[in-house]
């Protein structure tokens, strides 16, 4: 099945999905796979939440997609483009199509909010424009639009390290959307935030990505939030997918299988 998929040109079914992952394996040490053959198709819209205990490879899975981590085996296709094995310029051109939001925001602390947002265009603008901060007018307009959208209209010239956690993650979302990504990866985007801010940031992420038709894969620890915002839940345990379905199908016995034990429920 997967062999025919590899050989054939993208079919209509493939084009319907933003992302196709087949047989993805990652071994940090040989013979000890963290990901044990993941198969996952992600639709071209909506939020897919990945839940699972710490250390089960959720973060590795996301980082394999934009190749911050090098997959050991398997295929990852972004709208028909095979991502594994890309090098140099081709890899950079693929990465700019994939936005990423990080648990600890990963803003460049000593740059301004505007510089951080515009850094989402680094995959598009020539080097001299990046160095001299001479971004095209359209990019600057979009950056201001996104800052308004994430609720930070007055913060463009502030340094990123002057912001609160919630504000930083809002900038992180603006930076990712600045790329006009075809898919957005969010790695525990709310785990460093207080409960109220976490909901606000997730709400924002859901609203903006829906408005721009960007599908989202989100790693998240909070099962309740996952059920509230995702149209699909993927449960991982021990490097494999053991649940895949809509939130309403996720039952207690699934959670026991994903996280192990039952006392915590």
């Amino acid at each position: 099945m997967s062999a025919t998929l590899t050989a054939a040109a993208p079919t209509a079914n493939n084009l319907g999905n933003a992302l196709e992952i087949r047989g993805l394996v990652k071994e940090y040490a040989a013979g000890k796979p963290v990901l044990k053959g993941i198969d996952l198709s992600v639709a071209a819209e909506g939020i897919t939440a990945i839940i699972g205990p710490s250390g089960t490879g959720k973060s590795t899975l996301l980082r394999c997609i934009n190749r911050l981590v090098e997959p050991t085996r398997g295929e990852i296709r972004l709208r028909g483009t095979e991502l594994t094995g890309l090098r140099g310029k081709e890899l950079r051109l693929a990465r700019r199509r994939i936005g990423m939001v990080f648990q600890e925001y990963n803003l460049v602390e000593r740059l301004t909010v505007m510089e951080n947002v515009l850094s989402g265009r680094l995959g598009y603008v020539p080097l001299w424009r990046a160095w001299l901060r001479k971004y095209p007018e359209a990019d600057i307009q979009r950056a201001f639009m996104l800052l308004d959208a994430v609720g930070l209209p007055e913060h463009a010239t502030r340094r990123a390290d002057a912001l609160s956690g919630g504000q930083r993650q809002r900038v992180g979302i603006a930076r990712a959307l600045m790329q006009r990504p075809e898919i957005l990866l969010a790695d525990e985007p709310t785990s460093s935030l207080d409960p109220r801010t976490a909901v606000e940031v997730l709400e924002l992420l859901a609203r903006l990505t829906a408005a721009e038709n960007v599908p989202v894969i989100i790693n998240i620890h909070n099962v309740e939030l996952a059920k509230r915002y995702a149209r699909r839940i993927v449960g991982m345990s021990g490097g494999s997918v053991i649940f895949d379905g809509p939130p309403e199908d996720l039952r207690t016995h699934h959670l026991q299988a994903i996280y192990g034990g039952e006392d915590w429920l």
């Binding site: 934009n66 911050l68 950079r92 693929a94 990465r95 602390e109 740059l111 850094s119 680094l122 990046a130």
Partner: protein, 269 residues
């Protein structure tokens, strides 16, 4: 010795020691004192020799006062040449150290690049700059070019290493985020690396300029240009009053540089 089972009697308490005698340290200090006495007898250092030396020193001081600024033109020319050597060597040294520091940083460069570059930097560090200046004088001839080249080498050995260490301490999370946008190496440097290290880099550069200014007054002694040559000539001609004038001028120049770089540092904070 059953202190744990029964409360110690007062006799036991008297026998306990709060601070154990450190016999290795006592022996080491004794050996050091003995070696100092033996070494000074070997070198012919005695109270008589010291008294004689102090007398000579007094005479020298006497001949240095008052300082003689009559040949101020010669003095100024030398000082300006030292200043030029220092500024030029700092500029070239910093310009070369920036790429070398990036290449030597083990978190950004693969080992087969960082290893050789670190070796080059270590070689630049290993020889004292006066020795390097002598080598350059022999290789490219007397004058300011040799002094400048020697101080460029010294600058690379010092700040390229500090640059590399500063880069190795940056947060890789910020680098990862910029890489994820599709940025190439040069854009990652501009947006994720330099912002994290820029203020420390400027501090290193100011320090190196200070230190090059000091060093540039000395390279002249081996014929590599600057005020050092004038100083050495004055010593050889026993013009001790002119020597005093040169020394005062050097001290004034260094003080001035300290004040200026201190102001710049404060303004950057």
């Amino acid at each position: 010795m059953s202190a744990t089972s029964a409360p110690p009697s007062s006799a036991d308490a008297a026998r306990r020691v709060a601070f154990a005698p450190n016999w290795p340290m006592r022996l080491a200090l004794l050996a050091l004192a003995a070696y100092a006495v033996w070494a000074s007898s070997q070198l012919g250092l005695s109270w008589g020799r010291l008294a004689h030396g102090l007398g000579e020193g007094g005479q020298l001081l006497g001949r240095m006062v008052p300082p003689n600024f009559e040949r101020w033109g010669l003095l100024l020319e030398g000082l300006l040449e030292s200043l030029q050597i220092a500024v030029l060597a700092s500029a070239v040294g910093i310009a070369l150290s920036l790429p070398l520091g990036v290449l030597a940083a083990r978190n950004l460069s693969p080992w087969w690049i960082s290893g050789p570059v670190r070796a080059v930097i270590a070689v630049c560090r290993s020889l004292h700059y006066v020795i390097v200046a002598i080598l350059f004088v022999k290789a490219i001839g007397f004058g300011a070019l040799a002094g400048t080249a020697a101080l460029v080498v010294a600058s690379i050995g010092f700040i390229a290493k500090l640059f590399a260490e500063a880069i190795e301490e940056i947060s890789m999370k910020q680098v990862e985020a910029i890489r994820a946008t599709g940025a190439g190496v040069m854009k990652v440097l501009a947006y994720a690396v330099l912002p994290q290290v820029a203020s420390r880099f400027i501090g290193f550069c100011l320090y190196q300029l200070d230190s090059n200014l000091r060093n540039s007054t000395l390279v002249g002694i081996v014929g590599a240009g600057g005020i050092g040559g004038t100083l050495f000539a004055a010593f050889k001609r026993f013009d001790y009053d002119f020597v005093a004038a040169i020394l005062l001028a050097i001290i004034a120049l260094i003080f001035l540089a300290e004040i200026i770089s201190g102001r710049v540092r404060a303004a950057l904070r």
